[in-house]
Amino acid sequence: MAIKTEPFILNMGPQHPSTHGVFRMRVTLDGEVIVGLEPVIGYLHRGIEKLAEGRTYIQNMPFTDRLDYVTSMTNNLAYAMAVEKLAGIKVPERAEYFRVVIAEMMRISSHLMGVGFFLNDLGAMMTPVLYMWREREKIVDLFEMLCGQRLTYNYMRFGGVSQDVPEEFWPALKRFVAEMPKFIDEYEQLLSLNEILLARTKGVGILPSDMAVKSEPAGQCCEPAVLSGTCVALTHILSMTDLISMSRWGALGTAMTDTW
């Protein structure tokens, strides 16, 4: 006998501001099935654009670190490039290449955190994220050599970077680049056939490619869906044609392809 149920609205969140993804969901439930969901955002809007209005261009650089503090270098870079474009500043080739090197290191670091915290959210509290942290730490060490900071770097300047690369940077970077593939193999070994991970990610959170184009997520959310220009943002802003990041794609974007 079917049990008659009335849809009802349940309020989820907002979570505490120190948790990531602070927002509230108004969920419409029919029994245990979610039939409607309205996200309510805005709990962490910091009005940085407004703060920037009353400051000089260079004074805004540290704000960009805080836009997304796990990708601060790249945020620095985007802002520096925007101002350079406005002011018509030509960046020396060496600085341009060097910026790409650190932007790529930042990307690796950010992806490590992304994968680590994703597993945290799936319920594997802290263990996987600490494996990821091990390598992220090396990148952070490299950045510390550059600017003395480990989270909010404030390293980019209009026309280049704040100071030249110290001698010890290059050997440490080379060591990291040589070691990293081995660690990626290790992550894969630990995770890609993990039964719990598979059970929780396979076939859920499907983002068909037509919807991905229509609703237009960016970056990683977009990557698994069929998109020819996934790295639109980066390739668009960096002036070098010979440094184009690779992207992976599949016929369907799922939480699983999103992870790998």
Binding site: G42, V213, E216, G229
Partner: protein, 146 residues
């Protein structure tokens, strides 16, 4: 690498199809009259050679004399991009046609511009404040909001 189409070239083409629609153009940008905005956007989305299927960003800027709404368009098929703009004058009763029906992503971004800049997007299916609560007075991202 995504090729940025020249505003001037696109403006020329648009001028032929929609006489009087283009207000200004330069190397980067095409500015169209807000009356023509929807038709122009629809044309840019559906015409072979342009096919802008991806609205990367929608933003509003307060230039004190007028407001500008900026559309960063990308074509994933042709791997090119364009910056389209429209202007609305005055401080009150600002309206711009919504492009939600063309690019779904305009949903939140138009709501953001409505919330923080006070621009009404006509035809938006759910135009209410995005960040601030209903009943909040003013639009905090405007230049005259202190």
């Amino acid at each position: 690498m995504t090729v940025a189409l020249k505003g001037e070239d696109v403006a020329k083409k648009l001028g032929e199809v929609f006489p009087g629609a283009v207000v200004a153009s330069d190397k980067v940008v095409v500015v169209v009259d807000s009356q023509h905005l929807y038709k122009v956007a629809e044309y840019l989305k559906n015409t072979t050679g342009f096919e802008f299927d991806y609205l990367a960003n929608l933003a509003a800027v307060d230039y004190v004399d007028y407001f500008e709404v900026v559309y960063h368009l990308t074509s994933l098929k042709n791997n090119h991009s364009l910056v389209l703009k429209t202007r609305c004058y005055g401080r009150e009763k600002l309206t711009v046609p919504s492009v939600y029906s063309l690019w779904q992503t305009a949903d939140y971004q138009e709501r953001e511009a409505f919330d923080l800049m006070g621009i009404t997007f006509t035809g938006h299916p759910n135009l209410k404040r995005l960040f601030l609560w209903e009943g909040f007075e003013g639009h905090p991202q405007r230049r005259d909001y202190l």
